[in-house]
């Protein structure tokens, strides 16, 4: 998925979030930009801006007057080509702007509130346990392929009430949406228009209409806004949001945390021997390895700190870079499992705070605790063989590990 574009030689004026150098280790790039070019611009993808400091990333996240969320995945399609159904957007509420955003979000929030999510913990623990059981007796395997990738997809498919054996359909779809962003616009449009996922969701909706169940699909079909049931595009769009936002992201966070523990034996042993470290350690993994860089579009020409932004320019919002800003996080480049003050922005800032943050945090905690209970001693068997996803969600897609002792 990488290397289709010309290689980047100047990150200040020609950055590309699919470039192999960015994909393998974006942190030095962002650190240099924070220090020397806090608002970078690239002509790629039709014109893209990149604010990198915590202050600037926050400012854009809070500014819904100049930046729209109607498209959030930076690619070669121009916004008009997708013919976005305003004001909902393709995947509400992440692609919605005020005031519709608040209405669509409010409807979903109760399903993702802390106590509701806590009730799902036994299901996640069971899923993780079964995946670990399947690795038993193997001294070497791929933790991303055999463990982390199955957890969030299993949870989301279960919450929507879809058959678990269909998980592969989702993983394929998500990879297309999130990682193949450097395809030419036409190819990307063809991909979206194939309609495989739409047909699949329509079948599931029909099945739930005929036989309502206690799951999120039936919840969406029953939900009302101002006394009206949701438009079918809204139901499908929200399902797509849950898949796109709930699967790659958490898979990446769990994988990156395991990568850290597999390559930092001191931290691994500290965590194994001191359970009081877990709450701060989880937040620190989220800070240091925040997977998600968001996207925005410029609504109209305007001046942003001396930079002339043009209508329909993209803006990449690298929350992972904000999380490594030394002015907000002392010793930002180091992972401190007992970091006490940690206002990280892994789940975004402002009105689009990740709807599933409570779910993601619970999955991350359970997945790591179950792993550490089973395999407290492990290491990366081939650090150079670790591969990371490109685009706006960063996490290991191959993570070969060796179980010790």
């Amino acid at each position: 998925m990488t290397g289709r574009q010309p290689p980047v030689t100047d990150w200040k004026s020609d950055f590309d979030h699919t470039d192999p150098t960015w994909v393998s280790d974006p942190y030095p790039i962002w650190a240099d930009l924070r220090a020397h070019c806090p608002v970078a611009h690239s002509g790629r993808y039709g014109g893209t801006w990149l604010p990198t400091t915590h202050e600037l990333v926050s400012e854009v996240a809070y500014d819904t007057e100049h930046f729209t969320s109607r498209a959030v995945v930076v690619d070669n399609l121009r916004p008009t080509e997708l013919d976005l159904p305003a004001p909902i957007g393709l995947a509400p509420p992440i692609t919605s702007d005020p005031p519709f955003h608040a209405v669509a979000r409010r409807m979903l929030l109760p399903a993702f509130a802390p106590r509701k999510i806590a009730s799902l913990e036994p299901m996640v623990r069971k899923l993780c346990g079964e995946l670990l059981d399947a690795t038993s007796g193997r001294s070497e395997f791929d933790a991303a392929v055999d463990y982390t990738q199955h957890i969030p997809v299993g949870v989301i498919v279960g919450m929507l009430g879809f058959p678990l054996e269909d998980a592969d359909i989702f993983r394929r779809f998500i990879t297309q949406v999130l990682e193949k962003v450097d395809l030419p616009g036409e190819e990307r449009l063809d991909m979206f228009m194939q309609g495989e996922i739409e047909a699949y969701l329509n079948d599931q909706i029909e099945s739930h209409r005929a036989h309502p169940r206690d799951d999120l699909t039936s919840f969406l079909l029953e939900a009302e806004i101002d006394g009206n049931k949701l438009a079918i595009e809204h139901v499908r769009g929200t399902m797509i949001l849950l898949m796109v936002a709930g699967i790659d992201t958490t898979w990446s966070a769990i994988g990156a945390s395991l990568w850290h523990l597999g390559s930092h034996p001191e931290d691994r042993r500290k965590l194994a021997s001191d359970i009081s470290l877990w709450p701060t350690a989880i937040e620190e993994f989220l800070r240091a390895y925040a997977p998600v860089t968001m996207g925005r579009l410029v609504i109209d020409d305007f001046d942003f700190h001396g930079h002339r932004m043009l209508k329909d320019d993209w803006v990449l919002l690298p929350f992972p870079s904000a999380n490594r800003d030394e002015t907000v996080f002392p010793d930002a480049g180091r992972v401190l499992l007992d970091r006490q003050e940690n206002r990280h922005a892994a789940f975004g800032l402002g009105i689009h705070r990740c709807l599933g943050s409570n779910l993601a945090r619970m999955e991350l905690t359970v997945a790591l605790k179950e792993w550490m209970a089973r395999y407290p001693e492990f290491e990366l068997s081939d650090p150079d063989a670790v591969t990371w996803s490109g685009g706006q969600v960063r996490g290991p897609r191959s993570l070969p590990v060796r179980i010790l002792a």
């Binding site: 409010r106 109760p110 509130a113 802390p114 006490q340 990280h344 922005a345 705070r353 943050s357 409570n358």
Partner: protein
Amino acid sequence: MTAVKLKVTVDPDRCQGHNRCFAIAPEVFDVDDLGNAFVIGDGTVDNVLEAKVRNAAANCPEYAITITELRA
């Protein structure tokens, strides 16, 4: 010093439901059905909980928590 109590407030316009305060200091904060935080009771907190409350405030990504000292 024993007379010092703390008054804690959550700004509902700033809170976005990150749930950090409720996780750190559930004696002081709770969340509603939407996941947004509020302070339990009238927000007056005994100073034995001061460290916890200050830690919760220091972890709010939206800077939504304010702590003021009340002097009797």
